[in-house]
Symmetry: C2
Subunit: 213 residues, 2 copies
DNA sequence: TTTTTATGTTAACGGCGTTAAGTATATTTG
DNA sequence: CAAATATACTTAACGCCGTTAACATAAAAA
């Protein structure tokens, strides 16, 4: 018997808020995306957001989920690559492309703690399933490595450990690149380090090392 | 003819500020360390800090330097390890220990952008030497790898590229551990991943892979 | 129609980094 | 010594921030 009560703003305000947050976020980065600015963009009072999201971490978490959706879609495409080791390599490059091309999303997904804070709060109150977004992405990597092992690659290695190592390596490269530390270092070390494409070259080197082992 | 003019606070206020900042920082983390709290701890007005530091990034940069001093000291001790590959492995574990044992310092040194912002401002005005702290740490790693290569390890590898790869791998592991992403993942994947010591085990696995190549 | 409930708003709290203007004191200068 | 000046620091304020409490209003239920 209970239908929707009323709506001053026509659409689902929850979605409108998220959409505005996303636009601000992509246009001006996380630092310049405040609750108040989101509200202003939607045309509502800042406090109204708190009717639809618990707090800022909750909003940020929603964006974090969007980021994982994008990444998952890109990984999905790679399932068309038949040869497993080729697929693994492509996945690595894909991950790097995503990290560099969506810096702010990447930060939300793998660097910032706020989105995870939300998870812990939720987990404390309801029964919840942990970090399912990250879990999904990691499982995609796991599957590819398993396929590689079926074809004889990485013999004797513990699958999940290897996956973790590969992920950590990619994350290390991307994180250092995105926050500027890598550029500062390569600029200082231009004699020893080739300035351009350090990132992808490092990845190729890693692949090379893996292939030998 | 010009001696010191006067001092309401006896000691070097610049040092007192840094010391207070450090204490707050280590006790309550970066998020809870504000200019105003630092000032309160020293017993001065918040604006006084700006007579000794350009802005917050400047203070943060000073702490960032302290972090590198600690790390450099620990690396220095490892010079006593004679065998170069053993030294390299020890260096890796040392890096991990530092990252886990000094989370806030680590964040300042390798994750946050604020300290680097300070560098860029300084570089814009004066002639400056770039990120000399990071450069120093990286050179320490470079030297060890060079020694390894002298003994026949890592034949054919580009020294600096390999160093970068190793660093990125360690950073990836430490960063994911410190911000909680790694723990969330291992908790979700306890079937596939051994819960304890994932970090060190990953490192050992990496060493193992390197040794084969 | 009256009551209740969903859906917003306004006002306010306590925090933040930072700047401009003012004050007192010690040194230099006349 | 007295006046001018430079130094060391403070007060007041600006414009942000996330968040809560109290209040208003319109629609549905009684």
């Amino acid at each position: 018997m209970r239908a929707k009560k009323k709506r001053k703003h026509k659409g689902d305000l929850r979605d409108e808020i998220l959409s505005a947050a996303k636009k601000l976020f992509l246009a001006h980065g996380y630092l310049n995306t405040s609750m108040r600015k989101i509200a202003a963009k939607v045309g509502i009072s800042p406090t109204t957001i708190y009717l639809y999201y618990r707090d800022k971490a909750d909003v940020i978490h929603a964006l974090h989920q969007e980021g994982f959706k994008i990444l998952a879609e890109q990984f999905k495409i790679l399932e068309n690559v038949e040869h497993p080791f080729e697929r693994l390599k492509a996945m690595g490059r894909c991950y790097i492309n995503f990290a560099l091309g969506n810096r702010d999303f990447y930060e939300l997904m793998f660097i910032m703690q706020e989105p995870l804070m939300h998870l812990e709060k939720q987990q404390a109150s309801e029964r919840s399933s942990g970090w399912k977004e990250g879990e999904g992405a990691f499982k995609a990597l796991l599957d590819v490595i398993k396929d590689c092992q079926k074809e004889g690659y990485f013999e004797g290695y513990h699958t999940a450990e290897l996956a973790l190592l590969l992920w950590a390596n990619l994350h290390g490269l991307c994180a250092l690149k995105n926050n500027g530390h890598l550029d500062l270092l390569t600029r200082a070390m231009e004699e020893e380090l080739p300035v351009s494409n350090v990132l992808y070259k490092s990845f190729e080197l890693y692949v090379q090392i893996l292939q030998k082992g």
